[in-house]
Amino acid sequence: MKTIFDNKSLLLIALVVFFSLPLTGCWGQGELNEMGMVMVTGIDRTEGGQYKLTVMSALPTSTQGQQGSASNMWIGVARGSSVPDAMRNLNKISPKELTWIHNNYVIIGEAAAREGVGDIMEYFIRDWQNRMDKFVLVAEGEASSIMATPADTDKSLFRELEGITRNSEKWAKVYISDFMEFMIHYANKTCDVTAAKIGTYKADRTTLSSSRSEGNVTTGESKILYIYGTAVFKDGKLVGWLDGEETRGLQWFINKINEANVEHSEPEKGIRAVMEVIVAKCNITPFVREGKLVFRADVNTRGRLIELIGGINIMDIKETERLEKSLAKVIENEMRRVFEKVQKEYKADIFLFGDKLYRTKPSIWREVEEDWDEVFTEVEVEYNVKVVLRGTGELINNIKRDREE
C-alpha cells in the first residue's frame, strides 16, 4: 500500500475530517427537553385583520417525584400579520423552543374560515414541519376558546382530541379529513371542501367523569368538547354547517362510510329495525337526459341486523326483502335531504360530482367547466340504493314476538 499519502498526512486528513464534524454546529439538532412540542394549533381572525394564533404545546416535565398528574400542556396566544409572523411572535412568551413537528391538529376559527381557509393552510402545507397526515378541524366560534376547554379524563385536551378522532371512524356522523385530502379538494376546481366541525357545549357535570377540575363543581355545568358534523366551504370560504345525519348522508355519496347504522322505524306498527353497515359502495355515473345533466348514484350496501323490534319475520324471505327495501329508502332519503340542502342552500359541490364528471365524461365537463357553479345547482340525482341483509346477529326474530305466538 504505497500511496501518495504517507502515514503522517493520512493522520492529518483524518484529524481535519474529525474536527470539522463538530464545526457543523449540529445543524438541525435539538434536545428533547428544550423543545415545546406543539400539538394543536388554533387560528382565529381578529377584527383588526390580524391572525390570532393559539398553540397547545407539551412541555417536557419530570414525572419523577410528583405523584399528581398535573397537565404539562402550555397554551400560548400570539397575534401577527400572517400565520408565520404570529408563530414567531409566540417566542415572546414561550418557555421552550416551539416546534411544529408533532402538530396534529389545526383548528380554524369560524370567522377565519368564513374569510377563506386557503391563505391559512398555505403555510401549513409549505412548511416542512407539518405533515400531510394531520387533521383540519373547523371551530364553531373561536378556536382559542375551544382550546381553552378543560380536559376531561385525560391529562391534556390533545389526548381527548386524539381519542375522538379515532372514534370518528366508528360512526358516520363526522368525517375528519387530513391535510392531504383537504388541500387536494381545495386546490381542485372540480369540487369543494368540507371539514369536520369542532365545538363545545355545556352539560351537567354529574353525568360525566369525576376527574373534571374542581372549579366546575359549584356550577354543576361544564364545557364538553365534541367533533361532530361538517363545515361546508364554497370556494374555500365557510358557508354553513351540516349536522350529523346530513354528514352521514354526504358520506354515502363520497364513499367514506366505514361503520354506520341505518334505522327503519314504523312507530304505528311498533316496528324498528337497525342495520349495521358492513360494506357500502357508491358508484356515481353522470349522463345527459333530455338536455339535463343527471347523476345516478348506485349505492350497494351489505349489513347485518343489530336490532329488530316488532313483528317482522326475518325467516320469511318476502318480509326480509320488504325490510331491505325500506332500509334502502331510509338511505335514499338521507342522501336526498343533504343533497337538496347543499345544492339549494350552499351551492357547493362537496359530493365530488364535478370531479366524477371530469374523470368519466371529460367532454361534457369541458362544456360546463366555465359555469359549473350554476350547472351544479340544476343537476338532478337519481338514487338507486340496494341493501342486502347478511346475518341477523345472535338472534333470529325478536324474542318477544316468538313468545306471543
Partner: protein, 530 residues
C-alpha cells in the same frame, strides 16, 4: 533541532559496539552448535552440555557405570519437562538389565541399547549438538554413551497439564461438555477422537525464536482446499517473532486485514466446533499453550453460529440465529440511533412515545449525545471490571454497577431512565453473539457510530453504515469473501447461514469454503429414510 536528527531512524541504524558484539556472540554460538557434533569421549560431551546449560538448575545429568559390560553412560534431561519417575522406572531399569553378550563392535552395541530403550518411548539417534539441545528442551531424555559419537534421544513428555474441563466461553445446553486445554497434543487427540480417519492431517511447526511454540495445522485431506492449507502454512512460517504465547497473537499475524475491527479468523474452545469446521473443509491452527484454537477461513455468518444450533431442532436454532443478527444490529446502532432520532429527527417518533421520552429527559442536564457517551463508557467500565476482577469481589461490583450507576444516577437526575434502558439493551444484545471475542470487538463500532449519529443524525449513521459495508464486502479471509454466503449470494450456502435448515436438508458442504468435496450425503439414497 539536534534531537530531531537523531530521533527517528536511530533504532534501525547499527547498534552500539556492545550490542553488535552480543549479536555476534549469539550468531557464533548458533553456528558453533550447528556444526558441533558430539565426540566419543563422554566427559567432553558432558562438559559441553553443561557449558550450554550453565545456570539452568533444572538440567539434570545422571552418570552410570556398568563395569561388567564395560559401559559408561549418562542420562540427561530437563527436570519437570520429563517425568523423572519414568526415567527411573523405564530408562534406568532397561539399561541396568542390558546384556551385550557377543556384540563387541560399537554399532551393534548401540542397536541393542536402542532396542532396550524402545520400551520407554521411541528412541532416536542424534549426533549434532544443536539437535541434542533442542530435543532436551522438547521434553526428551538423552542417553549419551561413552565411546559412541551418537546419542539416543527418547521423547517422554512429563509436563503437568490442566485436566479437561467444561467450556467457559462457549457454553452449550445440549452437546458435549468438553473444552480444549493448554496442551496442544491433548487438543489434537480430542479432535482425532472425534474424527477417526487417516485423512485428518496434523502438520507440525515451531514458531517463536525464543519460545519455540508448537503449532499444529490440522485439515482433512481431500476436503480442505490445498491452496488454503498452503497459504496457512506460508503465513504461519512467515511469522518471525520472539515469542508466541497464545492463539490471539497468531491470529494477529495471519489475518488478511489486521486493522479491521472484524476478525477474519475464528476462535473456539470446543473440539466439536473444531471438528465441524474440519469437515466443512476449513483448516485448524492449534497453538500449544492456549485452550483456544483458530479456524480459517471464516465468514461473517460463522460468528452467529453456536455449536448448540446443531444440537437443537431447526426451529429454535433458526429463531435464535435471526435474534443474533438483530442483536448485532442493536449492539452497533442502538445508542447512535436513539441519539440521532431524539435530537435530529424527533418527528419520526410517535407523539405519545416522544412525550414519554421527553418527560423522562426533562431534568437531565446533559445533551443526549454526551449522556449516551457517558453511559456507554460506564457500561464498558463495568464490563471490564467484571471480566478482570477477582471472583470474590463480584458482589461489590454488582452493587456498584446496578444500584449506584443504574438507580441512583437516574434518581439524581443525571441520566434519563430511557438512556439506561438503551444502554442496558445494547449491552445485553452484544452478549447474544456466541463468539464472545468477536462480539466485544464488533460492538465497539457503536462508539464511532455514536459520534456520527450525534453530530450528523441519521445522515451520519448512513455514512457510517456505508463505510462499514464497503469495508465488509472488500474483506477476505484466506481468499474467501468475508460476507459470503450473503454476498456474493450463495443460495445453497444460505441453508446454514441466517436460518438453519433442518439437518436432513443440509446435504452439501458450504461451497464458498472449498469446492473439492461438497457431498455430505447423497440426496437420494435407499439407505436414507427420506
Amino acid at each position: 533541532m539536534k534531537v530531531k536528527q537523531t530521533g527517528k531512524y536511530k533504532c534501525a541504524q547499527p547498534k552500539t559496539i556492545l550490542e553488535q558484539k552480543l549479536i555476534d556472540v549469539e550468531k557464533q554460538d548458533k553456528e558453533k552448535l550447528k556444526d558441533a557434533y558430539i565426540t566419543e569421549a563422554l566427559k567432553d560431551n558432558l562438559s559441553s552440555l553443561k557449558g550450554i546449560f550453565k545456570g539452568c538448575y533444572d538440567f539434570s545429568i545422571r552418570e552410570v557405570q556398568k563395569p561388567e559390560e564395560q559401559l559408561t553412560y549418562a542420562i540427561c534431561y530437563i527436570d519437570g519437562m520429563v517425568d523423572s519417575t519414568v526415567v527411573n522406572e523405564m530408562v534406568m531399569k532397561s539399561l541396568n538389565h542390558i546384556c551385550f553378550g557377543a556384540a563387541k563392535d560399537t554399532q551393534s552395541r548401540l542397536n541393542i541399547m536402542k532396542n532396550n530403550l524402545s520400551s520407554s518411548g521411541e528412541p532416536k539417534l542424534v549426533s549434532c549438538l544443536a539437535d541434542i539441545v533442542s530435543e532436551l528442551l522438547n521434553s526428551s531424555c538423552i542417553v549419551l554413551i561413552d565411546g559412541h559419537s551418537e546419542a539416543i534421544s527418547i521423547y517422554m513428555e512429563g509436563t503437568k497439564t490442566r485436566s479437561i474441563t467444561e467450556p467457559t466461553v462457549e457454553a452449550v445446553v445440549k452437546g458435549p461438555l468438553e473444552a480444549f486445554t493448554e496442551s496442544g497434543f491433548t487438543s489434537v487427540t480430542q479432535i482425532r477422537r472425534r474424527l477417526k480417519t487417516h485423512k485428518l492431517k496434523t502438520e507440525y511447526l515451531k514458531l517463536g525464536k525464543e519460545s519455540k511454540t508448537r503449532i499444529v495445522v490440522a485439515y482433512i485431506e481431500g476436503i480442505a482446499d490445498r491452496k488454503v492449507v498452503r497459504e496457512v502454512k506460508r503465513r504461519l512460517s512467515a511469522i518471525d517473532t520472539d515469542i508466541i504465547l497464545a492463539t490471539g497473537q497468531v491470529q494477529a499475524y495471519i489475518e488478511d486485514d489486521y486493522l479491521s475491527p472484524f476478525p477474519q479468523t475464528e476462535l473456539t474452545e470446543r473440539p466439536d466446533s473444531g471438528v465441524a469446521a474440519l469437515v466443512e473443509g476449513r483448516v485448524l491452527i492449534i497453538v500449544d499453550g492456549t485452550p483456544f484454537i483458530l479456524m480459517v477461513p471464516t465468514t461473517i455468518t460463522y460468528f452467529f453460529t453456536s455449536a448448540d444450533d446443531y444440537y437443537n431442532r431447526y426451529i429454535f436454532a433458526s429463531f435464535i440465529r435471526v435474534l443474533r443478527y438483530l442483536a448485532l444490529f442493536v449492539s452497533i446502532f442502538g445508542p447512535s440511533l436513539y441519539v440521532a432520532i431524539t435530537t435530529f429527527h424527533a418527528e419520526m417518533i410517535p407523539t405519545m412515545l416522544l412525550m414519554t421520552i421527553a418527560n423522562a429527559r426533562a431534568e437531565v442536564p446533559f445533551p443526549a449525545f454526551i449522556e449516551a457517551m457517558l453511559m456507554e463508557l460506564v457500561f464498558e467500565v463495568i464490563r471490564e471490571a467484571g471480566a478482570r476482577q477477582p471472583k470474590t469481589l463480584g458482589q461489590a461490583l454488582n452493587i456498584v454497577g446496578a444500584l449506584v450507576i443504574g438507580q441512583l444516577s437516574v434518581q439524581a437526575g443525571l441520566v434519563s431512565p430511557a438512556m439506561i434502558i438503551v444502554v442496558a439493551v445494547t449491552g445485553l444484545a452484544s452478549f447474544l453473539i456466541p463468539k464472545i471475542n468477536t462480539s466485544r470487538e464488533v460492538s465497539l463500532i457503536r462508539f464511532p457510530m455514536l459520534i456520527l449519529g450525534g453530530v450528523l443524525g441519521i445522515f451520519g449513521i448512513t455514512l457510517g453504515v456505508l463505510v462499514m459495508l464497503i469495508h465488509l464486502v472488500s474483506l477476505r479471509s484466506f481468499g474467501v469473501p468475508y460476507m459470503s454466503p450473503i454476498t456474493p449470494i450463495n443460495l445453497k450456502g444460505m441453508k446454514d447461514a441466517i436460518i438453519k435448515f433442518p439437518e436432513y436438508m443440509l446435504t452439501r458442504r458450504p461451497d464458498f469454503i472449498q469446492k473439492n468435496n461438497l457431498t455430505r450425503r447423497k440426496e437420494k439414497d435407499e439407505n436414507n429414510i427420506r
